[in-house]
Symmetry: C4
Subunit: 192 residues, 4 copies
């Protein structure tokens, strides 16, 4: 078991870089009517916003989990690396869907990415709460509320996959709404 400050610092770095790299995928129009070109580029802007808020809210949740986690073992560090794999991957499906907003496969890659990430969060949190010595004992009520909120993750992103069969744009809007849901702390949904 080791303390978690350097894991958090490395993770913060990855989150911060991935969220900032998103802007590189929006290309400056070269020729023609600039105003119209910017208008036509709305899928890029929408994809930027949806992915920005998803990464931002995942960072908020990572932050919340680590306020409850006191110590890490090698398995937890490995599972954290899986979470970060998902985070570094996000700029690719974002660019894919921004470039091909009407291709079903682009929407499917985008929504499946988030579905898999919600499973990674499940596995990470499941291990953290069950393995002894990781959680600070005084906050088991807060931990249980998070467990409940996270059960919704795979469900909500399965719906995103279903939406991808209809419209890539709708996937982006749905993903932004799911981000709003996870922006709320778990305690907001529990009867006290």
């Amino acid at each position: 078991m080791s303390e978690t400050s350097r894991i958090e610092a490395f993770s913060d770095g990855v989150f911060a870089i991935a969220i900032t790299l998103l802007i590189l995928e929006i290309k400056v129009p070269e020729h023609g009517d600039l105003g119209r070109a910017l208008m036509n580029d709305w899928p890029s802007f929408l994809a930027f916003l949806a992915s920005f808020f998803t990464i931002g809210v995942m960072w908020m949740n990572h932050h919340r989990l680590f306020t409850l986690i006191e110590a890490a073992d090698d398995v937890l560090i490995g599972l954290n690396l899986l979470l970060l794999l998902g985070i570094t991957w996000i700029p690719f499906p974002t660019a894919l869907l921004a470039t091909h907003p009407h291709e079903r496969i682009a929407g499917l890659v985008y929504s499946t990415t988030f579905f898999v990430m919600s499973l990674f969060f499940q596995v990470f949190w499941g291990y953290a709460t069950r393995r002894e010595g990781i959680m600070s004992p005084e906050n088991s009520a807060g931990a249980r509320q998070i467990t409940w909120q996270y059960f919704m993750g795979p469900v909500l992103y399965l719906i995103a996959i279903a939406i991808a069969f209809v419209s890539g744009t709708a996937v982006l809007i749905w993903s932004a709404l799911v981000a709003v849901y996870f922006a709320f702390p778990a305690s907001a949904f529990s009867r006290r």
Copy 2:
């Protein structure tokens, strides 16, 4: 309420990356007379400088605000995410105006970005000063001076929007001057 060190670390990462990514927008000329090509690229260099100092000074201000902020709740974290959204966005209008210095729309996107960011700072600071438990109580005079300085932000960037109707280059110079104004601490403008 939680302490703010990890919020600052994540924010520092985003500020540092956005300010460093600006250089990627300056392309190396491939063919022809290299000296002349570099000369002709002056809008890129000017845009790089104006955005570098704007992000740098926004970081300075973020740093100053967080020396007065003691604790954060979920709303403040969300409002901080809005500030970071603006910061990650800046490389795009910078590249847009560097590539199209004579297009009115490019200057408008650039100046409107900073206008909206100055509103984000207002909302962030308004919440921080009014919600109980966020500010450290012993420095309310310093907080009030900042409030006064920040009232100028939207005004100065509204002027930038007006300037954008005349000249994109002038927007860049004006923005650099506004950065100089905000580089000074709020206390520099108050009668003691």
Copy 3:
């Protein structure tokens, strides 16, 4: 001798950025059948995964070494810079092998990169353990286990170089397996 926290912070930044930049090398297909284009791009995805886990596990090991290191002198800072040189270099051979999976030279550059990095780790660790005042004295058993594990690094990556003469894809798979080996802590391989 100075304390190591800022060396770790700078190193964490370099690791975090290098691991996140890998995704920039995967290009979004522009034209044609998008599903098929993504399928054909499997070498890019495999290279992304192999390099992601290699950098991630190197970070884990860097983290482990620095839990045993108490103080740094200028030589150690210089040797750490060599490690970071290797880390920042990795995105290039990754992109090279992803773009040219069937070129022997690409596989050789990729595997030689990791071989040289394993030598850098040897030199770094050899200096840290032999120079007085660097290691915390109470954990010499843990340090010796790491020394044994690290002797395998150059051997395993020499095998990678041999594999590169046969297949670039096999190099990627082998490298991912070596990453798994180094993900385990050194203590996992020692008879207690």
Copy 4:
């Protein structure tokens, strides 16, 4: 006066990103004989190495200065921002000289960049040592040694500018040698 930890964190981020972005300037050859294309690309590799070590050693020096600096005022934060402006700028002249190793103007831009940065370091250090309340008083001997070492910076980079009139490649080699000189701590050059 405020403490310096967040200034260091932000600076570490900028240094780490700039040093890692250098690799993005090395492009993967697309067509033709891959081995020969890599050989012909040696100016890119040399420029990468020279700039990597220059940024790395500037980080080492920044780190050393801040072990002697106890507190920062707004002027010092502004001067630090000037240093960071130089750091974020480095990837551009690096790419310029890598792409145009035989153009005199490319070598001049590269060497002038480092000359100006050495002046920025002078101004920064001059302010830090003369303004009261910034330096920790117990280490004035160490501070004076650094002052002496830094006087050599502008001289050594003026020589680099002169070399640029002869050969861009020689500028890169000279810059790497200057980095070696500044890698040594100032105390290594003083008679004890």
